[in-house]
Symmetry: C2
DNA sequence: TCATTATTCTAACTTAAGTTAGTTACAGAG
DNA sequence: CTCTGTAACTAACTTAAGTTAGAATAATGA
């Protein structure tokens, strides 16, 4: 039930946003968590559900999405290990979108009531969680721009840049190489394109020598050019410390 | 300096999300506010700015937007009178997008430090502000879907439905009629379309008898059909009370 | 191991929306 | 009342991305 190392991750994550004291940390560690494993493609939350558990992603990837009336899927966010999944949904009652496992995942669930109480008893912790959701929102905003105003090459380049930096920040990538456990269809649903066109663009990015791929592994060969083509600027990711530093001109 | 009626609006808004007690209300009223008027098109915040004042919109409309490297603008949100403008930007330090007046506006600015302190001293108030930003985020998500996966007729219909409900909720529209102080170019920047195409679609919606327009005033003639075409569902707006009730089947 | 199912990749063709280049209609300034 | 600028509107043409359909290549599982 209680899993100290699990919640250490939460403490570390929140501490990057707000300075916490011993009591704050203790209160976090006192949270009742419930660990479990979920298969790839398992739903963690469905649109319309009443959400009374907040999910923390311990390992594996997850994604948020909505399905339109015409049956088209739009992916709204990709989540990496270590991230909170439901701070977005859980305070507002009914979920307005789906959250689904992208790969097999280990998760820890925390009752919403306990989180609300934590936010009330320990306002610093509440503020840190708030900021966490604000960074999510900043990424949503950038995605609106990506999908609304950039062409297909830029959109995909931008997404690949974002994933590179977030994964490096999470310690899951080095030297612009990473595993991206997504199909081309899922990439299409992130970027508002069709799978066929994603394939064309991905090949083109390879042909241009910007990236190199093998199965699900991605290497960004020419970071500077990809960043330029993707119109990518780190600001919206709000890295506290300036972000991953081993990247050339990740300004 | 102190403007009781101004902050009443904040209290009312926050109370729709979380129950506040007398002390909570008093703490809000004690906030140091600074009222001023801004001309249409004036910038409230610019991308890259350090934000140390949070803006509350008292009257008039405002919008958030980003400009791509290629100079294309994408509007990310429209804000109505009574809404907080900078809870998104102000806790994260540097603004990652622009906030601009759409019309002449009256605003009240509050120092971020005072808001942080309020959130810390009065956790319920903090939670209510947090929830306010979560509703913003829910709208961002829906906009990703709108721009990513719906065709031009749906996109504009969806936007017109959203504005109708939010304006009714704010008491600024009745019987599906409202003033929308936006040019077709701005509508294009909301929907990821070109002004030319927005014009075509707007005319088409008129021809189909779904809406009727005159200058900046919009009337939704056939709510049910427009809602269906726009693939519009209220859920993402998270109205606490079920939302404006005088609309037929606004489910 | 073979069969099945997902995923990647391609080509040929179509279309929704963009582009360019205007005209028309207002609204505010002087 | 005319000038000026912005916004609305239109037509003709172009293009980026979608569609359809199928082959090649992994994975997965019985």
């Amino acid at each position: 039930m209680t899993a100290p190392q699990t919640l250490d991750r939460v403490v570390r994550r929140l501490e990057t946003r707000v300075r916490l004291d011993a009591e704050d940390r203790a209160a976090i560690h006192a949270l009742p968590v419930n660990k479990k494993t979920m298969d790839a493609a398992a739903y963690m939350v469905r649109e319309g559900d009443r959400v009374d558990n907040c999910v923390l992603l311990l390992s594996g990837f997850a994604y948020r999405h909505k399905i339109t009336g015409a049956g088209q899927r739009q992916i709204i966010a990709i989540h990496l290990p270590g991230e909170f999944l439901d701070l977005q949904n859980c305070l507002l009652g009914l979920a307005d979108h789906n959250v689904q496992a992208l790969t097999r995942c280990e998760v820890a669930t925390v009752p919403v009531a306990a989180l609300r109480k934590l936010a009330e008893d320990r306002p610093r912790v509440g503020q840190a969680m708030w900021m966490d959701t604000l960074v999510d929102a900043a990424i949503f905003r950038e995605w609106i721009v990506n999908v609304g105003r950039r062409d297909s090459i830029s959109r995909l380049s931008h997404l690949l840049c974002e994933m590179a930096l977030r994964l490096e920040e999470a310690g899951l990538a080095v030297d612009r190489r990473y595993q991206l456990p997504m199909t081309q269809e899922q990439l299409a649903d992130c970027t508002g394109l069709t799978p066929v066109h994603v394939n064309r663009v991905l090949k083109e990015l390879g042909r241009m020598g910007l990236i190199s791929r093998d199965k699900r592994s991605v290497e960004i060969v020419e970071w500077d050019r990809l960043q330029r083509i993707g119109d990518f600027n780190t600001r919206y990711l709000h890295f506290e410390n300036g972000g991953p530093t081993n990247l050339p001109s990740a300004h």
